[in-house]
């Protein structure tokens, strides 16, 4: 089967990103002693699971041309509600986890209802809930309450290994596979792209646009709750500031992975590579004894670079087309 030029280009983008990730890894491995060890690579995996989950959930949203700025705040709210349910309501971690997932889905549902029901722009709705969720988390804990002393059986989820791999990886990779199948091998994924290219077009084609959008935002809330549970298990504590700024990392990973911020184009494996690129950069800089701020700054710069890189060919094409289409100078007849 011959591939269309666009598929070819996509392939090139993800392949280029794979090369970047490989170069990063090899470079850090050569420069520092401990970077290449299996322990450290498991460490990178452990630390990137939460942002990876958020980025996975963000991919369908950005594919539909939307955005969700509230996932980091929702993670914080879910983390402290999980702690509250476990410590103050006396639920077992498993029961508290199920309730937390329901709360996350409800939080995503709030976004979804406002966006689809009232046709408000996702940007401003999720900016409002970004403030609301974080504010609720601060109000519930009064800014100071911290939940700790979780049972070892729960911390196993975030800090131990199961069958040789970090436990949370056994949650992360099946989730990634499920999202990949959803986006790339079902009609749902196809409808996300159609909505991203043109919501009206998708509507006229008979797609249930509102139901699909409802689905992606609820999914994002659900995944944010899952990430909150894993975050709590990894750190062994839940605080109101959990996940501050994670929405930025998630969006960066998605855009770095080749998903167009205008919607319609993108892939889940690109997002996974984007997450890997950011996680390796963060970990490698720590091994080079650079301060944490350097990694944050480079992530921001990386996002800008990826954005400009993604539109540069289009701009160049547009400019050339503009030059070609310029009408010839009028010739004065003698």
């Amino acid at each position: 089967v011959k591939k269309s030029p666009r598929q070819n280009l996509l392939f090139r983008h993800e392949f280029a990103l794979l090369v970047v990730v490989a170069i990063e890894w090899i470079g850090f491995n050569a420069a520092t002693a401990r970077f290449g060890t299996l322990d450290n690579n498991f460490d990178i995996l452990r630390h990137s699971v939460e942002i990876g989950l958020l980025a996975l959930a963000m991919t369908p949203i950005i594919l539909t041309g939307g955005i969700d700025l509230s996932v980091g705040s929702l993670l914080g709210l879910c983390a402290i509600l999980f702690g509250k349910l476990w410590r103050d309501a006396g639920l077992s971690p498993a029961a508290a986890g199920v309730c937390t997932l329901a709360i996350g889905a409800a939080g995503g549902g709030l976004n979804a209802v406002l966006i689809t029901g009232l046709r408000l722009p996702p940007l401003i709705v999720t900016l409002g809930t970004y403030s609301l969720f974080r504010g609720l988390a601060e109000a519930i804990t009064r800014g100071a309450d911290t939940f700790t002393n979780f049972p070892a059986s729960f911390l196993f989820l975030g800090q131990e290994r199961w069958l040789g791999c970090p436990t949370q990886a056994w949650i992360f990779f099946p989730t990634a596979a499920a999202v990949w199948l959803l986006v790339h091998r079902t009609t749902f994924g196809r409808s996300f792209r159609a909505i991203g290219f043109s919501p009206e077009g998708a509507c006229y084609a008979g797609l249930p646009v509102n139901r699909r959008l409802l689905g992606v935002y609820v999914l994002a809330g659900l995944v944010a709750a899952l990430a909150a549970i894993i975050y709590t298990a990894r750190l062994g504590q839940a605080k109101a500031d959990a996940g501050t700024g994670y929405e930025l990392f998630a969006i960066t990973a998605v855009v770095l992975g080749g998903t167009s911020i205008f919607g319609g184009i993108g892939s889940v494996h690109g997002t996974l590579l984007g997450v890997a690129a950011i996680a390796i950069l963060n970990n490698g800089l720590v091994h080079l004894r650079q301060p944490r701020e350097a990694a944050g700054m480079l992530t921001g710069a990386l996002l800008l670079l990826a954005l400009t890189g993604s539109v540069a060919p289009k701009l160049w094409e547009a400019w050339r087309a503009h030059r070609r289409s310029r009408p010839p100078l009028p010739v004065r007849s003698p």
């Binding site: 406002l114 408000l120 401003i124 504010g135 109000a139 350097a294 921001g300 800008l304 539109v311």
Partner: protein, 309 residues
Amino acid sequence: MSRYFRELSVGAALLLVLATLAIIAPGFYQPQPLLSLATREAPTLVVACGMALVIICRQIDISVGSQFAVCSVCAGLLAAQNWPTALVAVAAIAIGALLGAINGALVAGMRLPSIVVTLATMVTWREALRWQRQGAFVNLPDRVQWFGLSQSTGQWLLVAVALVVLGTLGLALRGLAAGRFLYAVGSDAEAARLAGIRPRQVTFQSFVALGALTGLAAMMNVAQSPQVDPKSGTGLELKAIAAVVVGGVAISGGRGTLWGVLVGLLLLACVAPALTHLHIEAYWEKAIQGGIILLAVVADGIRSRKGRM
């Protein structure tokens, strides 16, 4: 009436809050605390005015908090080098305009979505500043605080500067061609282009104006304390956007007034002192502000829905 429905309804909400406070907590109305409150909110008002320009132009800038911090620290460092205060203010405004121009060039020149561009610049400037300063405060010479005037004169001066900025920009938006261009581009960029306006140039200029106003606001903030906190301005973008949205500026561009922004900011600014006086814990402030933003956009959504039917 219907044209200024939004401004009037927010004004009514503000009056309701003030009346409630007058009955339940008359202690709120004391001249000195009110002046302090106005002084604290003056820089936010200046930033919110700039934000209104950008949002009317159908863009958004969430990096203003980081720009504010960069301008504050630069102004502090220059003042510590014994630059005269007026020159420091000019430098702060110039640095702000430069940072705004970077955003503007990326948004208008490269046609990138402003939310992602400013998300990236927000984190880049903030982390670069943290890396550079490592959380160290900048100590200012005495003559900078309140511009070397007495405290109450300085406070009145800052409030006056903010109101002059608001008034000038408000009149310019109404009366000058440049102001009408913003509404035209925000309503429909293509139609504006066909009418002979250059939409990308207007967008770029709105970002530069916001940057310059952020620099001015940073200077107004520096003049209020003997030290500059490198973390200053955290969350400023949300405050400014909240004031603008609550004040009735449509996030989809092309609609809104600066008077509405003033009323919106006053309403949000009253939340924190009102909470204290009503004996509600201050931790609810952020949640209530988020709730007010959502309420405002929901009201917009319902109204525009009615308008369509």
